[in-house]
């Protein structure tokens, strides 16, 4: 899988060190209104901490078989999982990081990184009063509920009065329906058989360089199992497990929707999230059995680096869902505004007959951000259909690439795909690229791809401003209109926040 291209050797220094170059730009004080500047200002002289319930030390920097054994032992994992990790590590050693994406990445030193570091207790601010006011202002702009702001700002969990109880309440409600929603570590302990059956069944250990790395050293993540016929009564969200949310740089998510079930999962949040690890390599596996439906929504707003491109998260994510049964449906919706580098292709394997895949994406790159993102729809079963709607917005010196593959296998009779990817350019120095791969091996398939690239129309801007809207609001209105088809796919609260997020992300990009 992957786009399976040449993967020449590459060494990697600097980037993955636990405390990365989150540099503060000197002029941030002068331009306090941009997202970047208050994020970096907030970083100044402040180390927020992670909270977990595991007393742990740090592993020695570097990645060897011993590191993998150390991580597994620390987590008290069963033998099968250790050998699974080791197999992944062996595969990873034989691989080199992919070069085919349109991304300029400084080499990453994988051996310089620390792969297991237990965050120190209570290292963060004790209460919201200690949190940078600029950061709180963003939360306000985004309309994030008060109770969540503390957790997002990295306030230690014991200082967040009600998040734990909220999480517990929801967990009980889900338990009554037989829905399992817990941390990955807990799932390994409590539901080992389920994990063992499905782990790696969609993204195998050797799938690609970053998936192999994740498989070897994944820290924690989420596990969801929805039993047959159950319709999950609420959106499952990282919000509800705030104390388990900081799962580190190698997150692993496994979500199984059994026959006829339905689940909607929200990942990430619109608030500028900060993390001290610069390299992120998550893996998400979704399995939808017969008649099941999974809706997976992501808002990613990691630290994008400063205006000059210093610092920022490298986000290398492998997300893939398998429609294992007939009439299964998987839908991905994403709003990607953060990270210095985004490398992410949420995909659907449409194995069951009549299964359906969908991908809705908004990706914004501003300043020096780079995104190479898209999807893969692999049509394997008969009468499968897929829809891809991608909206890329480039501003500043951002580089935004849509890369998507539509593959129709020989047995996929009457497969149907429609792809639309539109790019919007704001400013003279940004780039928007479209790289679709269409591979059809069945004559009954109908595959359509269309794409347009345009800039913000001066007429539209003029019209809005002439009606009294300030320039930034006019831009925000136009951008939201451009993204409407995607935003409407997001769960409601998310959609409202995402709209505001688009505006915040593009602040300072016109005028």
């Amino acid at each position: 899988m992957g786009f399976d291209l040449a993967m020449p050797d590459l060494a990697m220094p600097e980037a993955a060190t636990p405390n990365p170059a989150v540099t503060v730009s000197a002029d941030s004080a002068e331009t306090p209104d941009t997202l970047e500047s208050f994020v970096s200002a907030a970083n100044e002289g402040y180390k927020y901490g992670f909270v977990t319930d595991i007393e742990a030390d740090e592993a020695e920097p570097g990645l060897t078989e011993d590191t993998v054994r150390f991580i597994s032992a620390k987590k008290g994992e069963p033998e099968w999982l250790l050998s699974w990790r080791l197999k992944a590590f062996q595969r990873w050693q034989q691989m080199s990081d992919p070069q085919w994406a349109k991304l300029k990445i400084a080499p990453i030193d994988f051996q310089g990184a620390c792969y297991y570091s237990a965050p120190k207790q209570n290292a963060g601010p004790k209460s919201l009063d200690e949190v940078d006011p600029e950061l709180l202002k963003t939360y306000e702009k985004l309309g994030i509920p008060l109770g969540e702001r503390a957790a997002l700002a990295g306030v230690a969990v014991d200082a967040v009065f009600d998040s734990v109880s909220v999480a517990t309440t929801y967990k009980e409600k889900l338990g009554e329906l037989g829905i399992i929603f817990c941390s990955f570590g807990e799932a390994v302990r409590e539901h080992g058989d389920l994990v063992r059956k499905y782990l790696g069944s969609v993204v195998p250990q050797g799938d690609n360089f970053f998936a192999a790395l994740n498989s070897a050293v994944f820290s924690d993540g989420s596990f969801v199992y929805v039993p047959p016929g159950v319709r999950c009564p609420m959106e499952l969200s990282t919000y509800f497990r705030i104390n388990a949310a900081k799962t580190g740089q190698f997150e692993r998510t496994l979500l199984i929707a059994d026959k006829g079930s339905h689940v909607s999962y929200l990942e990430g949040c619109t608030a500028p999230q900060r993390d001290e690890n610069q390299l992120h390599a998550a893996v998400v596996e979704l399995i939808a059995l017969e008649d099941a439906e999974i809706k997976y929504s992501t808002v990613q707003n990691w630290y994008p680096g400063d205006a000059e491109g210093r610092g920022g998260i490298y986000n290398f994510v492998t997300k893939r869902g398998a429609c294992r049964g007939d009439r299964a449906k998987i839908s991905w919706a994403q709003v990607e505004t953060g990270s210095a580098i985004t490398w992410k292709y949420p995909s659907c394997l449409l194995e069951g007959d009549h299964s359906v895949g969908a991908f809705y994406s908004v990706a914004i790159t501003n300043n020096r951000q780079q995104a190479d993102t898209g999807t893969k729809m692999i049509h394997i079963g008969r009468n499968t259909s897929s829809t891809v709607i991608s909206k890329g917005i480039s501003a500043g010196r951002g580089q935004n690439t849509y890369r998507g593959q539509i593959k129709v296998m020989p047995k996929a009779e009457d497969a149907r795909n429609f792809t639309q990817c539109d790019s919007l350019l704001i400013g003279k120095s940004c780039g928007a690229h479209t790289v679709p791969y269409i591979d059809v091996r069945n004559p009954t398939a109908r595959v359509e791809h269309e794409a347009t690239t345009s800039k913000i129309s001066e007429d539209q801007m003029f019209y809005c401003q002439q009606r009294g809207l300030p320039q930034e609001d006019a831009l925000s209105l136009i951008v939201n209109g451009f993204c409407k088809e995607v935003l409407k796919e997001l769960p409601m609260e998310f959609a409202v926040e995402a709209q505001k997020l688009l505006a915040v992300s593009l602040e300072g990009s016109v005028g």
Partner: protein
């Protein structure tokens, strides 16, 4: 096979290759540097992004070296494989200036260049090297030595002939130029053709190139084109090689301010073929039309890879490629339109549509946009599908048998791009004729 094992026979053949007698020293140096470049890179592999869909094994399994008798201007009697005694029929119904090449070399006896208007040079590459060495320099580019075009490098090392057309500023050539390459061989040999078209400012010309033949020959052509300010060039390529043949062609065009280049590529023959068309729009207001069709059957594999580089503002690209795949055929479209910073008011469209007529036929299409300027209008589209059942039913309900109905729909699908290209009746006629001939060989049911 390692690269050194792969390239060794070519390097050995290069030492004894005749080249062109009395060629200038810079050309010898260029050949030398080119073979070194090829020796370093070898043939492209599928791990390279632009070659990942193409199965080059028919070409790389065993080395295909230049024909030993591909010596320019050699006495025809001395050749192992003599050319036909009669000239091949013309593609066009009007008089043309004709250049006939057989197995990679110019055959004066079959050609008929005729009287050219003042300011126009037309000749074989070998003759041009001798008579007008200044013109030949335009046919070369440093990218053959440093770039990622191993076939161009191999061509630069080995070419013995081809054709050169040069128009001085303002020269207008009303009579089309016809270039026919016949490949006739029983053994796998390579024909490296090096062509150049230089259109001075305000000049105008039409070139129709066709290749045909029999046997397992490998035609490897490189055509360098410069279209100067406000000049206009129409260029039609009909690739109708034999069913065992291999065909690779690189066309490189640079367009100055207000220049116009129209290319139509019809791919019919060869078991393995690849056409790279690289167009640089380097002057303001230049425009290019790249249209064409690939009609494939049997085990044929064809790649069409146009790359348009918008370097200057106000340029325009119109690109429509249509593919029809029958039997086990495999079609590949790798299109790129790149817009450089500052190339504002770019207007570019790219469309690739494919028709799959059999359960084993296969298409890969990758229409790519790379945009670094904001004031642009760019769009691309790609479709893959089969014949419309409703349309088929409609025609049959009107009393047409299934085969006729299918042919009618396929013809309509492919002929559409000939209409789009708007080449005029004279130039469209051979394209339509080839399309109908191809359809005549398509089975009824699929």
């Amino acid at each position: 096979m390692t690269i050194s094992e792969q390239v060794a026979p070519f390097v050995r053949a290069f030492r004894t290759a005749p080249g062109i007698s009395d060629e200038p020293e810079w050309l010898c140096a260029h050949r030398d540097a080119s073979i070194r470049h090829f020796a370093a890179t070898g043939f492209p592999t599928r791990s390279a992004e632009s070659w990942r869909f193409t199965d080059l094994r028919p070409l790389t399994a065993s080395p295909i070296l230049p024909a030993p008798d591909a010596v320019p201007n050699a006495s025809e009697r001395a050749l192992a494989d003599p050319p036909p005694s009669d000239p091949p029929p013309s593609e066009l119904s009007v008089p043309t200036h004709r250049i006939i090449l057989v197995n990679g070399r110019f055959i004066p006896r079959l050609s008929r260049i005729g009287a050219l208007p003042p300011g126009v040079w037309l000749g074989s590459t070998a003759d041009t090297v001798k008579a007008r060495p200044g013109l030949i320099a335009a046919a070369f580019d440093a990218s053959e030595i440093v770039g990622s075009q191993p076939f161009a490098a191999l061509n630069a090392a080995f070419f013995a002939d081809g054709f050169v057309l040069a128009l001085e500023p303002g020269a207008v050539l009303e009579t089309p130029i016809e270039v026919i390459h016949l490949g006739r061989t029983d053994t796998p040999v390579a024909f490296h053709l090096r062509n150049a078209i230089i259109a001075g400012s305000g000049s105008r010309a039409t070139v129709i190139e066709s290749t045909e033949g029999s046997g397992p020959g490998w035609t490897n052509a490189v055509t360098a084109i410069t279209v100067d300010a406000d000049a206009s060039l129409r260029h039609i390529r009909i690739q109708n090689d034999g069913s065992e043949a291999i065909h690779t062609a690189l066309t490189r065009a640079t367009l100055a301010r207000g220049a116009r280049y129209e290319n139509f590529a019809l791919t019919l023959g060869a078991r393995l073929s690849r056409q790279d068309i690289q167009v640089a729009l380097s002057g303001e207001g230049a425009s290019v039309a790249l249209n064409g069709a690939y009609l494939l059957r049997g085990e044929q594999e064809a790649t069409f890879a146009p790359h348009v580089d918008h370097q200057a503002p106000g340029c325009r690209t119109d690109e429509v490629l249509k593919g029809v795949m029958q039997d086990h055929a495999h079609g590949v479209f790798l299109g790129t339109i790149a817009v450089r910073p500052g190339a504002d008011q770019t207007d570019a469209r790219q469309l690739n549509r494919n028709l799959l007529l059999s359960p084993w036929a296969h298409v890969d299409t990758k229409p790519e946009l790379e945009i670094l300027a904001d004031d642009v209008k760019c769009s691309h589209g790609a479709t893959v599908g089969s014949l419309d059942e409703a349309a088929l039913f409609y025609l049959q309900a009107r009393g047409l048998d299934e085969t006729t109905a299918r042919h009618m729909l396929i013809e309509a699908f492919a002929a559409d791009v000939i209409d789009t290209a708007a080449l005029g009746d004279i130039l469209s006629a051979p394209l339509r004729r080839h399309l109908r001939d191809w359809l005549g060989q398509v089975g009824g049911a699929a």
